[in-house]
Amino acid sequence: MRRFLERHWYAYAMVLPVVVVIAVLVLYPLAQGVFFTFTNINEANIANPVLDRPASYEGVGFKNYLNVLSGDASYGAFWSTLVRTLIWTFGCVFFHYTIGLGLALLLNRQVKGRTLYRVLLILPWAVPAFISAFAWKYMFNAQYGIINQLLRAVGLPDPVWLGQSDWALFAVIVVNVWLGTPFMMVALLGGLQSIPGDLYEAAEVDGATPWQRFRHVTLPGLRSVSSTVVLLGIIWTFNMFPVIYLIAGPNPNTRILVTYAFERFFSGASRDYAVASTYGVLILSVLLVFATVYRRALRKQGEVW
């Protein structure tokens, strides 16, 4: 034991602060949150130190899970919300990745003004998300928004973007694609730059067409970068809350799992912590299952990750 400590002393000392902070502020709250899902805790029965009121919630077993998983509308219609969350997540990440890759390929060439283009293209990442959300909400406004002005000017129909229709989901996806593309672009640009140039030269000598070079040199060279950023992108988008909340508000047409949990948590007099936590645990379970499947699929393709 002593030798063990002597050998790893420095490593553990350097890691310890992070482990402590994460344990206190993430793992312990998580355990407590999981516990809450088996109770009927809400604003009325939670312990309130200010009012000096003790907790009076009770265990209800699996009732919260049964209620939520029944898909009942008064519990947020879990299954249709899950489907919408998946559309949102994969829609956003698909466009993040394809647009990001396209721009990275363009920026990776010898272009005049490359630095300027790069700065301009990364700008959406630098602006705080809540500012961008306000900006887009303003631009999407049905009457005075610039987007509908342009559509009207060229004679296209001008839908009420953020109303009670699927246009609202479309609009928030557009905003999130705008927000998330720079990260993908920068990451993939870095990946492109790490592919050795000789590979392309060799491919060219062998008579590979540009498409073949892209298919057999570029894409394999980006494999490890892509697998990480896509997984991170999916996790982040799945839990992306501010964009939808600030642009569309509690609109059922843009409701995804995490915004519903937040609605349940904050709005209404009852503040249903139990159902909000149940949603949280279900979100975490979905993501864990997904990440496991994803990693296994990668490992099958021989990726060491």
């Binding site: 420095y10 890691v15 805790i41 010898q110 272009v111 700008l123 602006v127 970068v225």
Partner: protein, 297 residues
Amino acid sequence: MTLDASSLQMVKPERRLKRSDRSPLASIGLHAALVVASLVAVFPVFWVLVTSFKPDARAVETSPQLFNESSLDNYTRILGGEKGAFLTWFGNSVLIALLTTVIAVFLSATTGYAASRFRFPGKRSLLMSFLVVQMFPFAVLIVPLYNILIALGLQGSSIGLVLVYCTTAVPFCTYMLKGYFDTIPTDIDEAGRVDGLSPFGVFWRLVMPLAKPGLAVTSFYAFLTAWGEVAFASAFLSAADESKTLAVGLQVFVQQNRTEWGHLAAASILVAIPAVIVFYLVQRFLVTGLSSGAVKG
């Protein structure tokens, strides 16, 4: 040697030839695509800037113009404190964001260095847990976190919020910095140890200065995480006006049925300026820092 030099000379002109080899049409297409993408990227910010000079009533006219009774009135009123304690919120946000950046970058640098250089039992599960932590929806954490902050006496304070932000920023920053430290040759560490530095001295005096691009990117990320966060800030800060951050405070401009767009836009510009400054300072490091960082996993 001569062979090397001549072969290099062979390669160089050939490459340049290839660049200029691109047909004018392809060049135009390339620039057109980049210009369109840049316009899409910049336009919303530009539009907020334009709107920020208009009075609220002019901002909602159905035929938008670039200038419409534009003036600096919105800015003077916001900075003058007529629309809530803007400068106080600004100060709170700066304090919280800077503290988060310093603490998160320091913590993730030590952790990332340990994960990069030392083999120790539990390393794999530590790195895995960082990925899993990213998956935690705050909905499940928010009530328990609130209780913990009360128990620690940090509820409603900036420090509590800084700690919470660190838990979101540190896992990703650690991943990035570990990847970056991996690209710094270990010979440097060994040379430092031979010269009598402690492992921590090696880390602090030799590796940290070499890791500037990686540190710049992680600072940027940590700063933005704290600067733009809404959900925890609105849940954890006390309702009193003077403890709000900008993200919470700005919602006074967005009321139930009417939004003061002119003022909101002006405030947004003021909020975006520090973020853009930080961004401009680190942007030349972004690609190198990020590519050798997290993205290699």
